[in-house]
Amino acid sequence: MSKVFKFHNDVDTDQIIASQYLLLPTIDDMKGYAFESLDGDFAKNVAEGDIVVAGENFGCGSSREQAPSVLKALGVKAVVAKSFARIFYRNSINIGLPVIVCREMYDVAEAGDEVNLDLAAGTIETSKGTLTCTKLPPYMQGILDAGGLIASLNKEED
């Protein structure tokens, strides 16, 4: 089961990881500051397999790949939103973090809910019923399935 961490519309990448941490040496050095301005305890409370739920335009703003990377490093299984900003969406697929468009989830799920996200089936079981996720275009799903863009490139070079 995955615990839900819920955020609003237009969450920008500065909120996911603020500028002052971006030049730290590694993603592991940065991950403790994820969502610092919105939920100072997020990094402490989130556990492997949990999910982030948000409204419209999640990940707008800067192209910093550190944003999806810190979420992945904290064990976030997927981000489920009504819609995503394009650079965050692309970066997430490139690093192998599932980004799922499911417009109903934001209205159905509350922070702290336990849900069952089945990535292969594209469904989310909640206490209020089972939701179906929008499918990725096959090309992008292929990158995600390979474990990200670099893993996919390495495979081609085998």
């Binding site: 030049l23 800067s62 790949e65 490139n94 670099i150």
Partner: protein, 413 residues
């Protein structure tokens, strides 16, 4: 079926006759740019993640240190060193302390019709010269560095037909903030914002830069102004070529078309914490400020510095305000020195910084403290963007920022 400017550029980069929105294509990249915001991570991935580390074409890569320059702590200095040494080892073009990355790219590299990816969201600026620039993360950058290629899903185009001229005291900054306020922060998500019409052709290259630069704040993949003779003159005067001036075909398909009469645009501000929370300046009310910032890839060019100097001449910055000015590049800085603008700034009590991202990026000199209010020509006003998470950023034109620095509160010039 006809193609839009964006489709023509992608077709050229993909080496095919035509493309249409929704298709996925592999493209050859004309340039790739990366700055100190992420390059240290890209270099680590190059060494640690690749099965066959290599560089496809070093001449297409540009590394620019502009975000935290000069370094403000030893960890930043280490990140810069990693970037510097990698560039040296591989013969990659390297700029440090010369200006904001997009300003340098437009001054020294971009040509119309090119497809350029940059590890910075404001790479969309290159549409000022009729190129397709778009922001990517460091994994995309690494892939492009190794293969010389990338993949793109062809975006739909939203066309903005511009007519007329901006009135005196109204700037391209007011126009693009107005548009973002109208369409919303995701109103052009994954689209090309194409600016055309006589109103667009009346704008200078610097003015077009302002429009395209903020396209990403409406969610767009890029912004492009229909290129014309002004573009040819700009690039040829810098010894570059203008062979691919693409304009949309008469039967090109646009997802939407907006009409803007420039003579009706008013001065506006974007309120904290969203770029699309735009209101007329006349409705902002009594907002005291602690700091004012003039600079950034959006509004740190010579035109903006001239506007500020005209307003500041013979006046003093308000005693309770720090006014920080950062020219967008050293060539802008030098021109401002030659024109005597620096004297005006220093005599008024403003602080002039080196050419860098400065206050707009919120992680180097000039950050604001808890509860403080900033009026800025920067690109964004997100929560905590310029420093403490409980500080506030308003966005306005160079004229509004300068007049506010004198008044100690947000006012028009």
């Amino acid at each position: 079926m006809g193609m839009t400017i964006g489709e023509k550029i992608i077709a050229r980069a993909a080496g095919v006759e035509s493309v249409k929105a929704g298709e996925i294509h592999t493209v050859n990249l004309d340039y790739m740019m990366s700055n100190d915001g992420t390059t240290h991570l890209t270099v680590d991935m190059f060494h640690n993640k690749l099965k066959k580390p290599r560089i496809a074409d070093k001449d297409k890569l540009v590394f620019i240190v502009d975000h935290n320059i000069p370094a403000e702590n030893p960890k930043t200095a280490a990140a810069h060193r990693k970037m510097r040494e990698f560039a040296k080892e591989h013969g990659i073009k390297f700029y440090e302390g010369k200006g904001v990355c997009h300003q340098i790219m437009v001054e020294d590299f971009v040509e119309p019709g090119q497809l350029i990816m940059g590890a910075d969201s404001h790479t969309c600026s290159y549409g000022a010269l009729g190129a397709f620039g778009t922001g990517i993360g460091c994994t995309d950058f690494l892939y492009g560095m190794v293969t010389g290629k990338s993949w793109v899903m062809v975006p739909e185009t939203i066309r903005f037909n511009l007519t007329g001229k901006l009135r005196e005291g109204v700037y391209p900054r007011d126009l693009i903030l107005t548009i973002i306020g109208d369409v919303g922060a995701n109103g052009c998500n994954y689209k090309v914002m194409e600016f055309a019409g006589e109103g667009a052709h009346n704008l200078s290259i610097n003015d077009r830069f302002v429009l395209c630069n903020l396209a990403v704040e409406a969610g767009a993949k890029t912004g492009i102004v229909e290129p014309d003779e002004k573009v040819v003159e700009y690039v040829e005067s810098r010894g570059r070529k203008a062979d691919n001036l693409f304009v949309s075909d008469s039967d090109a398909v646009f997802e939407k078309v907006y009409e803007y009469d420039l003579s009706k645009i008013e001065p506006v501000v974007a309120r904290p914490d969203f770029v699309d929370d735009v209101i007329p300046l006349s409705e902002v009310g009594e907002v005291k400020i602690d700091q004012a910032f003039l600079g950034s890839c959006n509004n740190g060019r010579i035109d903006d510095l001239r506007v500020a100097a005209n307003i500041l001449k013979g006046k003093k910055v308000h005693k309770d305000v720090r006014f920080i000015i950062a020219p967008a590049s050293n060539s802008v800085y030098l021109q401002a020195v030659e024109e005597g603008l620096m004297e005006i700034f220093l005599e008024s009590g403003a602080m002039v910084m080196n050419a860098n991202c400065s206050v707009c990026w919120g992680s180097c000199q000039g950050v604001i403290g808890e509860g403080e209010v900033l009026i800025s020509t920067g690109t964004r006003n997100f929560k905590g963007r310029a420093g403490h998470k409980d500080s506030k950023v308003y966005l306005g034109s160079a004229a509004t920022v300068t007049a506010s620095a004198i008044a100690g509160k947000i006012v028009g010039a």
